[in-house]
């Protein structure tokens, strides 16, 4: 989606999935990066006309355009991420981001010494509030007295690609006492992670594994396996199974990242606590509230 292919986050994950497919199968794929909403339909049509199959779209903003286009090209299969489009030739993939966010929220609360943690969202939309809400629930589950400061970068797609503002928001949160910030903001998060590292506090990445960006300074990353979704869609090719597809903690769609870059930050008991919660979520013993289900959040006000 808007924000650039190399946002180190959402779009990059999608791109990596496609690359992995290309690398493994030797296939080629056409790609386009859009700069403007008004161009979505044009791009889709051109790809469909050119005989690409399947066509994968990363981002909810394609929804409306896809509704139109999918009907016009019944023989082409489409896959869309983060959005549900009710057409027979469309596969809709959605993620339970609130579950993954809950897990990193727990880690944040355990890592925080000040009892204040931050959340910086990208564009202020229900999807991102879903991240924030899950995160806050995780924080409060560990430390009911903790404070969660939440800011959104903006209300337009430019909010996905504004690291400068991300930095300023981070500074503002630091001045309010936050010592762990979670960036769910696409390319904007780059600025958040950077500033957090500059000022000696911890940050949490999103979508892709961003731990490597500032080794030892990124607490963890909330993984959203967009890459897997894209990879699978490409693997399936024209036989892509259409319909509705939910990726959650249970099926490995979301999770938290643990690797050599953050091993020193996550103690064994932290890991144990989080893994236990993950197991509970999978089993249904723990239900994390999904903001988009009723547009409200028990743990955080936006």
């Amino acid at each position: 989606d808007l924000g650039g292919k190399f946002d180190k986050s959402f779009n990059e994950a999608a791109f990596n999935g496609a690359q992995r497919w290309a690398g493994e199968t030797g296939g080629t794929f056409a790609e386009v990066e859009l700069q403007s909403d008004a161009q979505r339909e044009q791009a889709l049509r051109r790809f469909a006309e050119a005989g690409n199959n399947p066509i994968v779209m990363a981002g909810f903003s394609f929804g409306t355009a896809l509704e139109e286009v999918a009907a016009d090209y019944p023989d082409t299969k489409f896959a869309i991420i983060d959005m549900v489009v009710g057409q027979p030739n469309v596969r809709s993939v959605v993620f339970n981001e609130h579950e993954g966010s809950y897990l990193v929220g727990m880690l944040a609360a355990m890592a925080s010494t000040s009892g204040t943690v931050g959340f910086i969202g990208g564009m202020d939309i229900p999807l991102i509030r879903k991240f924030g809400c899950g995160y806050a629930q995780g924080v409060l589950a560990v430390n009911p007295d903790a404070t969660v400061i939440a800011n959104m970068t903006g209300t337009t797609p430019t909010a996905w690609n504004d690291p400068v503002k991300g930095s300023e928001l981070t500074l503002a949160q630091i001045s309010q006492g936050a010592d762990v910030v979670y960036a769910a903001a696409g390319g904007t998060g780059v600025g958040v992670l950077q500033t957090a590292a500059d000022n000696g506090i911890l940050s949490i990445g999103v979508d892709s594994n961003q731990n490597y960006m500032h080794p030892g300074k990124v607490l963890t990353s909330m993984l959203k396996r967009v890459d897997n979704a894209v990879y699978e869609a490409f693997m399936a090719g024209a036989d892509l199974e259409t319909g509705f597809n939910v990726m959650g903690v249970g099926n490995g769609g979301v999770g938290y990242a643990l690797d050599e870059y953050n091993a020193s930050l996550i103690s064994a008991e932290m890991q144990a606590a989080v893994d236990a919660a993950a197991a509970d979520i999978t089993s249904g013993a723990l239900a994390v509230h999904d903001y988009t289900s009723d547009e409200s959040c028990p743990a955080l006000t936006f």
Binding site: G4, D7, S175, G191
Partner: protein, 323 residues
């Protein structure tokens, strides 16, 4: 609101004000010499891009700064050619420069770094880091003044201090030197300068070049001074125009320019802290209103509710000796 929060907002105001201030002073030199320049925006943008790009490639913020200044100077020369040598319309030239900058930065960034019109994130060394002034820590215990010194005055990048230094320098140059006298004269009545045996063309070009250098520093500050760490598409976001408004507000005088830019910087800093506004005035203010506030203020200021601002008399008109 406690002192520390206030200081944090002011601190961020200073940072926000710096590129505005540099651009505003750039405009001051240009317009005082009679060349209107709405291309400040574009010059800052190319400077921001090239500064970040070169810093990322070479790993040196200083080389980045020089490259940024070079990029800005190139566009300044184009503006000079259009408005001085070829006596074209200065507004149109400025508009063209802004578009050119908006397009070319993304085109080159994309082909160079392939990151959707961004430069790579700059690491330490490749950007201007905050400088902690001497005794900032030890003095911070002094009530009131200590925190002010530590939070507000100390801890900015070198470019912020340079910008602040340029204000008195501009004042001194404008009112205390031969160059300043001539510069002010050429913006008021170029024929007087010409008949006094001074080259109007050379004077105006030097003003335009100074303008280019200052816009270059402004751009570098935007992209390569902490906390910023790289260039993003359209990152100037109208600052060039706001700087022009500040210039009018300041009635083309350096010290007032500082005040005006700090005001605008404050407005931009406030946008980042909607929570504070909610706390202070007790109601939630729409984010969009906050983000539009600098622009609305600009219009209000231009509407002249702050008194009449008389621009340099020969401003905007090419100097034509022979009709």
């Amino acid at each position: 609101m406690d002192l520390l929060t206030l200081l944090q907002v002011l601190d961020s105001s200073v940072r926000m004000a710096t590129p505005l201030l540099l651009a505003c002073l750039a405009g001051l030199f240009s317009e005082r010499a009679g060349i209107f320049d709405i291309g400040l925006e574009g010059k800052m943008l190319v400077a921001a891009f090239l500064a970040a790009a070169m810093a990322s490639v070479t790993g040196s913020a200083w080389i980045g700064l020089l490259a940024g200044i070079g990029a800005s100077l190139t566009l300044a020369i184009v503006h000079g050619l259009a408005s001085i040598t070829f006596r074209g319309n200065q507004l149109i030239s400025g508009v063209a420069i802004n578009f050119f900058a908006a397009g070319i930065t993304v085109v080159i960034a994309q082909s160079w770094f392939g990151q959707g019109g961004r430069t790579p994130q700059l690491g330490d060394g490749a950007r201007f880091q905050s400088i902690t002034l001497p005794f900032a820590e030890s003095l911070s215990v002094v009530p009131l003044l200590g925190p002010i010194y530590k939070e507000l005055i100390s801890g900015h990048s070198i470019l912020v201090y340079i910008a602040m230094l340029i204000v008195p320098l501009t004042w001194w140059g404008l009112y205390r030197t031969r160059f300043g006298l001539r510069l002010r004269a050429v913006g008021e009545n170029p024929a007087a300068v010409d008949t006094a045996g001074i080259s109007v063309v050379r004077l105006r070009y030097s003003a335009v070049l100074i303008c280019g250098v200052l816009c270059g520093i402004a751009g570098a500050q935007l992209a390569t001074a902490e906390p910023a760490a790289g260039f993003i598409k359209d990152m100037t976001a109208g600052r060039g125009y706001i700087a022009l408004a500040a210039l009018i507000f300041a009635k083309w005088r350096p010290w007032y320019a500082l005040m005006a830019c700090l005001l605008f910087g404050f407005l931009q800093a406030l946008e980042l802290r909607p929570d504070l506004i909610t706390n202070v005035i007790g109601i939630k203010v729409q984010g969009q209103l906050l983000s539009a506030l600098p622009y609305i203020m600009t219009v209000v200021i231009l509407a002249g509710f702050v008194g009449k601002a008389i621009p340099p008399r020969a401003g905007g008109e090419p100097y034509v000796k022979e009709r």
